[in-house]
């Protein structure tokens, strides 16, 4: 990706040399001639920022607010008109400011950076109405943005491209200033020059409002050679950018079963065969995938050492798996949600596992880190479905539902793949360490700087509010009641955690199978199907999230 940055930057500068720049050229030139350095800087900065934001977020804004893109454009045109008019009729502008001032006190900007604020707003409006000839790089970023898939590199690329445009525009304006400095007229009649800039802005706004900019572009396309009009695209194609920006994300992996593949993937965005609709997935945090960083190189410490910072009542997610005992404190998982770990089996082989936790659902689950039999790692996609963590794998970029372990988007969904679950006990530190004095504990030395004494979601665990919407919100219980959910033969049932405080063993049945549920000393709920003698792995989580993913669930009542 680093290699693409200079290409994007130069491509931005080249955009300025194509006819695409014509609609904004008069304003840039006029502001240069007017010569207020801060106004020029404001306009250029405004264009750079608003163009970048538009490429990244316009799709989301249009979808979330339900307003057409044309409306955004029209609003920007109206703003341009207002700024233009304010320059032509400064008296009126001051009146408006005075009027606004009555309701909203603010300091008028009357310093040496005069015109900066107005310049930024003018530039920001221009950036929205101006649809430059975008090349493959920006198009690919816009494609990702259209499906809500951002990454640090896509944001960096489009900003770099805009900076190239910004530099080009700034140089043009500076050239304008050079020229005007040669003529005394511009200095003497600065009021008039100011008004001329206003007229140019108004003219541009009207020009764009009636669609003349598009007419002009059509005309230039027909008369000018393609090599000129498509300069940025031609330039980017020299470097064969397509193979970098449209990687094999839509392809299925073809690695050998049992091999390990961990790579930089794009999130799968093709909803063919998906288990969810694209509108069901909500962007839960900014920055795209890994906006919450998983722990990829976990370190562990002893009970004594953990006792110095972990309280007895703290929750830990623990495994006692093939003879290895490990505890992963909720305090750490609140900030990372996924630990990519390995366990040395008695056979001497390592088994790749992931311990996952969704703070909004209270659900901790363990999985084998295998996608289509290929060992890989998992990360936080940044998306949520029914408030639950959506994970992605670093082999194919599939999206996975944490609570069900199901592949929901990508080839894994089409393969009907479900991650193999490993049992995780959610219990208190007191109970776990008493039964497992030799347990290893995940260390706070995660390689990330976080305040593990702080709970990042405020009063979320105590209150009755959800941060995002849920389908089938079931209020049979207070929504954040901890329950143990089990599935037997397609049937599901939830047991409020409190029932095990009254009696540690419960005999019940589900789907015709007799069950025994018992709470062990370490705090584990052990569920046995008495017909088959098989152990069923229960999930401990908040009631609402169990019910959201199991709308037909039964609820145990004493």
């Amino acid at each position: 990706m680093i290699f693409l940055l200079p290409v994007a930057f130069i491509s931005g500068i080249l955009t300025i040399l194509t006819p695409c720049v014509l609609p904004v050229l008069p304003i840039i030139l006029a502001s240069g001639v007017e010569g207020k350095v801060w106004r020029i800087r404001g306009i250029v900065l405004g264009i750079v920022v608003s163009f970048t934001l538009a490429a990244l977020t316009l799709s989301a804004v249009v979808r979330i607010l339900g307003i057409p893109a044309d409306t955004v454009r029209n609003i920007a045109v109206v703003f341009l008109l207002i700024f233009g008019l304010s320059l032509v009729f400064p008296v009126v502008w001051n009146k408006i400011l005075g009027f606004v001032d009555r309701f909203w006190k603010f300091e008028p900007v009357k310093t040496k950076n005069e015109g900066f604020t107005g310049g930024i707003l003018t530039g920001a409006s221009l950036g929205l109405v101006w649809t430059p000839c975008i090349g493959p790089i920006v198009a690919s970023v816009a494609t990702l943005a259209a499906v809500d898939s951002f990454s640090g590199s896509s944001i960096l690329l489009v900003s770099t491209y805009s900076l190239g445009i910004g530099l080009g525009l700034y140089l043009i304006a500076k050239a304008g200033t050079r020229v005007s400095e040669k003529f005394a007229f511009f200095k003497e009649k600065s009021q008039i020059v100011n008004r001329i800039l206003g007229v140019v802005i108004i003219g541009t706004a009207i020009f764009i409002a009636v669609g003349a900019d598009r007419g002009l572009r059509t005309w230039t396309l027909s008369v000018l050679p393609e090599a000129w009009t498509q300069l940025p695209t031609r330039f980017e194609n020299i470097f064969n950018v397509n193979q970098f920006i449209n990687p094999s994300s839509t392809q299925e992996g073809s690695a050998e079963p049992g091999s390990t593949v961990v790579r930089d993937v794009s999130l799968q965005s093709d909803f063919t065969g998906a288990r969810v609709n694209s509108s069901d997935l909500i962007q839960g945090c900014f920055g795209g995938k890994d906006c919450i960083p998983s722990i990829d190189d976990p370190k562990f410490e002893s009970v004594q050492s953990a006792n110095t910072w972990l309280s007895d009542s703290d929750l830990v997610f623990a495994i006692d798996y093939n003879g290895l005992e490990k505890a992963y404190p909720q305090r750490i998982l609140n900030w990372h949600e996924i630990v990519n770990d390995s366990i040395r089996l008695r056979s001497g082989q390592d088994e790749a596992i992931a311990i996952t936790f969704c703070p909004l659902c209270g659900s901790a689950l363990g999985f084998e880190r295998k996608v289509n039999q290929v060992i890989t790692k998992f990360g936080v996609s940044g998306k949520l479905h029914n408030n639950d963590l959506v994970m992605y794998d670093r082999y194919e970029g599939n999206l996975w539902q944490q609570i069900t372990g199901e592949g929901i988007v990508g080839p894994a969904a089409r393969r009907n793949e479900r991650l193999k679950q490993i049992p995780v006990v959610t219990t208190t530190w007191r109970e776990w360490k008493k039964e497992h004095p030799n347990t290893l504990v995940l260390s706070r030395d995660t390689g990330h700087i976080r305040d593990y004494d702080l709970y990042p979601y405020g009063t979320y665990e105590q209150d009755d509010e959800l941060l995002f919407g849920v389908k089938n919100l079931d209020r049979s219980l207070p929504i954040k009641t901890p329950v143990y959910g089990i599935e037997v033969d397609g049937k599901s049932k939830a047991y409020p955690a409190s029932v095990f405080e009254k009696s540690s063993t419960i005999n019940d049945s589900l789907g015709g199978f007799p069950l025994r549920l018992e709470k062990t000393k370490e705090g584990k709920i052990k569920v046995t199907n008495l017909n088959t003698n098989e152990e069923i792995i229960p999930i401990r989580l908040f009631w609402f999230s169990w019910a959201a993913f199991h709308p037909d669930t039964e609820l145990f009542k004493q």
Binding site: V78, P136, A209, V210, D270, F271
Partner: protein, 143 residues
């Protein structure tokens, strides 16, 4: 003082006139296609009309190509679809859809850039969306 009042009145009239013009021009934006017949540009490559869209959805895979006469990269893809027509899947119908006039369709699929391609399935829901690129990217993206 009087001069200022006149200025304000002039300004207000100006804003209202521009706003009015704007409203008229945007509300009048015709669904240009509705009355017209679909124009065949190449094999399985036609201009959008609601009827053609309905037919295409029933027949096989359908791709909406949001195109504008002022968009250089769009005309590049337009040419390429015509020239390299034989490389495209037989069951794929591409509908060239005018970005400037098909406002309803644009809103339905949340289109914010010219040169956006949307593959839709039988019930009209979106399968795949991407922006930019030529026939090579199209072949790679289409499902």
């Amino acid at each position: 003082m009087k001069k200022n009042t006149i200025l304000i009145v002039v300004l207000a009239i100006f804003v209202v006139v521009i706003g009015g013009l704007f409203y008229v021009s945007s509300s009048k934006t015709p669904s240009a296609s509705s009355a017209q017949k679909s124009e065949v540009l190449a094999s399985n490559y036609i201009t959008y009309t609601p009827a053609a869209f309905a037919d295409a959805k029933n027949e096989g895979r359908t791709l909406l190509f949001f195109w504008a006469p002022w968009c250089g990269t769009c005309s590049f893809l337009d040419d390429e679809i015509k020239k390299r027509n034989s490389e495209l899947p037989q069951d794929l119908t591409i509908l060239r859809t005018n970005y400037d006039t098909e406002t309803d369709l644009k809103n339905k699929y949340g289109i914010v850039f010219q040169h956006t391609l949307v593959q839709v399935n039988k019930d009209g829901s979106e399968v795949k969306k991407w922006i930019g690129g030529g026939v090579d990217l199209l072949k790679q993206q289409i499902k």
